[in-house]
Amino acid sequence: MMVQTPSASRRRDLWRFIWQIVTGNGLLVILLLAAAAGMLAAAWLPQAPTADPEAYARWFSEAQARFGKATQTMQALGLFGVARSFGFRALLALLAGTLLLRLVERGDRLLSGAARWEWGELFPLLAHGGGLLLLTGLLVTHLWSWRIDGLIVQSGEQLPVPGTKSWVALQEDASKVTHSPGIVVSVEALGPGVRVSAADGAGNALALEQAAEADLHTELTLALAKDQHFAIPDAQLIVQLTPQNGRPGVQGPILLQVYHYPPIQLETETVVKGDAELRVDDVTLHFISRPYAQVTATFNPGLWPTGIGIALAIAGLAGSIVRSARQPRTDEED
């Protein structure tokens, strides 16, 4: 028979104590509260934009006006980028570790026969496993996902997503956005657009120039997410297209203004809707409606683990809540 020395027994007690702490409810409650505080800070404090330098500059001046000298300190503490901060990520890592240990502990209790198997025992396992899968999915998302905002695709066009092999397309009637498999595309805005061409009196196509020093084209496709203009150098004309405010829609009215230069003076202006033709002197402008969609393309390899994790966690939590509510209580109830 082996006899344990007092120091070995003390060491084992210490490990048992640590195990009880890390698998107990107390630590999980503290971690959840810390994560809640982080999320609430993210909700109440303006979070710094990262992708757009212009938006960042605007945010920074607003933050300085609001928080004054405290801005630098708050920024150093990561309060303006909670989800990106090291502290918050470390917290999520700790949460994942705790969930894993709790799952091991519960599984061990069931397998070793220390706890009697009941179907109800499945719910905490589902909740812990789901939470763990969700956090793993979030890690995969963080490491390998990408997202491109503000892509503009016009009807009948198949647009390659920059830097990837994926593509996004808008159907001819602008009724549906299609895309290559493996990505998620969400439509942010729909609006009018045109394909424009110009011809002289003899019917010859005229070259169009969208900006100074830009290539010349006989046809331009313009999305009217903002005002657009182009020049017809051979006819010394500049055409400006303005989507009419307050009347959204893929076939919304467009204000056309044609200027002659030099010197720049307004030649004619009119409002068109859908396909149109406009004659200025001996130049004929053809406008064919080509609505646009502004989309966001996302590639997320963590999508399925995250989704399954959420579904399992919901099922596990719902079952655990019902199970806990059905347990008899001795105290006063309303």
């Binding site: 409810n25 107390g26 999980l28 409650v29 503290i30 959840l32 509260l33 994560a35 809640a36 505080a37 982080g38 999320m39 609430l40 993210a42 909700a43 109440w44 979070q47 909670v82 989800a83 969700l134 999915g137 979030l138 998302t141 996902s145 997202r147 990505i183 998620v184 969400s186 966001t296 996302t298 590639f299 997320n300 999508l303 995250t306 989704g307 959420i310 579904a311 966690a313 919901i314 939590l317 719902a318 809540i321 019902v322 806990s324 509510a325 209580r329 105290d331 006063e332 109830e333 309303d334």
Partner: protein, 255 residues
């Protein structure tokens, strides 16, 4: 047209009376006083429920913060305690309904000329920055979004009830929060779960990082912590529940 301000004012007064009676009963232990306070709180809740459609018609069917507060207070007001071991706990349970209806009254009164109620209470910035009819006039009761809003307002009222119960438990740990907390936690879990799954399905990401999403997720994490907290320490549990519910009430009112 029935003026809505006096009705809300009357219910605030009745809630204050019920609060006072319950507190008084704590000192004097007069027979039937707690029953009277209960009846009065039910009448106050009923009056607030009557005020809700009136206020809704005043707001031309648009969502407003005052509407939200009035419906929340109406749901939170009626006292359903069967036993009162500690009447002061019962009085504290009425506090959320009293505060919510009081702020609701102030918001309503602010929008009627010739009233001076605004002098009575300085509102926090997050409430006073927008008036009674400040929300964009895009939603009507006939649309599902208004019905959904009403469902959320009703749930927020239940949250305010749980807040009252948790505050009562903080004073006297004998009275534990009811199963309503469990039911609301389940609802909140389903809401957060479906929101994140919808985000994932439609946009490819769980979380877009908007303040509303962060707030909802933060509130759910706080509720989860409160739900997991040890039942053998009712005060600690009640403090966590009170914090979590208060967060949700503030988030709901901030819109």
């Amino acid at each position: 047209m029935i003026p809505v301000t006096p009705i809300i004012g009357l219910s605030v007064g009745m809630l204050l009376t019920a609060f006072g009676l319950t507190l008084w009963n704590g000192f004097r232990q007069t027979t039937g006083l707690d029953r009277a306070a209960q009846v009065i709180s039910w009448i106050a809740g009923g009056l607030l429920l009557i005020a809700f459609p009136l206020l809704w018609s005043e707001a031309h069917g648009h969502y407003t913060r005052a509407l939200h507060l009035v419906l929340m207070a109406a749901v939170a007001a009626p006292s359903i305690n069967r036993r009162h071991h500690f009447p002061s706990s019962g009085a504290i349970r009425m506090l959320p309904a009293l505060v919510l209806s009081g702020i609701g009254l102030t918001l309503v009164a602010e929008n009627f000329q010739g009233t001076h109620y605004t002098d009575l209470l300085t509102l926090p910035a997050w409430i006073s920055q927008e008036g009674l009819f400040a929300q964009p006039p895009t939603v009507s009761l006939a649309e599902p979004s208004m019905l959904l809003n009403m469902a959320f307002m009703f749930c927020d009222g239940l949250v305010a009830r749980v807040l009252g119960e948790a505050l009562g438990t903080l004073v006297h740990p004998v009275a534990t929060p009811s199963r309503l907390f469990d039911a609301l936690y389940m609802l909140l879990t389903l809401l957060v779960g479906t929101t994140t799954l919808t985000n994932l399905w439609q946009r490819g990401m769980v979380w877009e990082g908007s303040p509303a999403e962060s707030g909802l997720l933060g509130a759910w994490l706080a509720w989860s912590a409160a739900w997991l907290s040890p039942r053998e320490h009712p005060r600690l549990r009640a403090a966590l529940i009170a914090t979590a519910t208060l967060l949700l009430v503030l988030l709901a009112l901030e819109g």
